[in-house]
Symmetry: C2
Subunit: 200 residues, 2 copies
Amino acid sequence: MFPEPIQKFIEIFSKLPSIGQRQATRLAFYLTRRPELNQNLNSSLTALAQDLKICQQCFLPFKRNGVDLCPICHNKEREQKIICLVEKEIDAFSIEKTREFKGTYHILGNLIDPSDPKSYESLKIDWLEKRIKNFPDKTAEEIIIALNPTTDGDLTAMYLERRLKNLSKKMTRLGRGLPTGGELEFADEETIKGSFEGRH
Amino acid sequence: MFPEPIQKFIEIFSKLPSIGQRQATRLAFYLTRRPELNQNLNSSLTALAQDLKICQQCFLPFKRNGVDLCPICHNKEREQKIICLVEKEIDAFSIEKTREFKGTYHILGNLIDPSDPKSYESLKIDWLEKRIKNFPDKTAEEIIIALNPTTDGDLTAMYLERRLKNLSKKMTRLGRGLPTGGELEFADEETIKGSFEGRH
C-alpha cells in the first residue's frame, strides 16, 4: 500500500515494544517529511549499540570507557559485598537516584515465569553465585531482594531466597508500606500490614 | 540519571509524535539489551531519508527511481486534470487502496488554523494554482475536496472552495453517510442528513 521504504520502516518499528502498526505508520510519515531528523536518530541509535557496555559483574549498562566493570562495581568506596537484586536496569537507576544505597547490584533481567524454564536461566544466578564465591570468605554481607511487591515479584523473591540463602549472612526484602501521598483509607490490606510491620 | 547514550536516545526519541518520556525510556533499555537490532533500525531510517522522494507536483512520497514525478502523476493513463485534495499522505494511500479513483492528488499537509497564518501557506495552494495554469485550458476538470468531515476539515474545505473555484469546472466534496457497520440508532444528525442527501 505504501512506498517500499515506508513499508519497511513500519514493519521494523511496529515490532518494538508498545509501538504498534498505527504508531509506526504515523512515525513513518512524520519522518518522511523531516529527513533532517534522520542523522540525529541514527547517531543516537548507534550510540546505544556502540557506546554502551554491559557490566560483566552486575549487568548494568554504562558508557564505554575502557573498563570492564561499571562505575558502581569499579568503585572501591561502594560496599562490594552488599548486593541488591533488581528486575530491570531502570530499577537500579531509580535506587541510585536516591543516593542512599552504597552497595552494588545484580540485574536479573526478568521475573520468573513457572511455565517457562528459560525465565530461570536468564536471571544469571550462576554468575551471581560465582561472583560471591570470589569473595575472600565466599559469602555476601547482605543480599537485598529489591523486586516489585507483586505476585510475580514475590514468586521470584521466594525462588531467590531459597537459591541464595547459603551465600549471604543476611537476606532482606524492601519494606512495604504507605507510599508518599498515599492514604490509609484507600490502601489495600497488604500495604497496611506492611506499613505496620515496618514501623519504626 | 542514566548513562549518556541512553539519556541522549531518550531526549531525541521522546520528541517524536506520540512517543513520550516513558515510552522512549522503555525503548532505550529494550534496545540496549539488543544491539543486534541496531543495524535494521538504522537502515530503515536511512532508507526513509534517502530512498524516498517527494513528488514535485502532488507532494506524495514515492520510492526514488530517477523520475521527478510520483507513479501517479507520471502515469498518462491517470486522469491528470482531476485533482483530489487530501490533508495527509496516508489519506491518498487509503483512497488508492480502493482502486476506484483514477485522478491525481495534491497533499495539503495540514488543515487550516485561523490563528496561524503559516497553516495557510503550508497548504501549497500556490503550487496547485501553478499546476492547473499549466493545463492547456488552464482549468481542472474537477477538484475533489477529500478532507475529514470534521470542524477543521469543513473550515479548510470552505477556504479551498473559495480560493480554487475559478480554476475548475467542478468542485466536489466526499459524500457523508453511514459508514459500513454503522447503525442509524447511534449515528449523529449530520451523518444521517448526509446519508439522505447522498441517497441513490
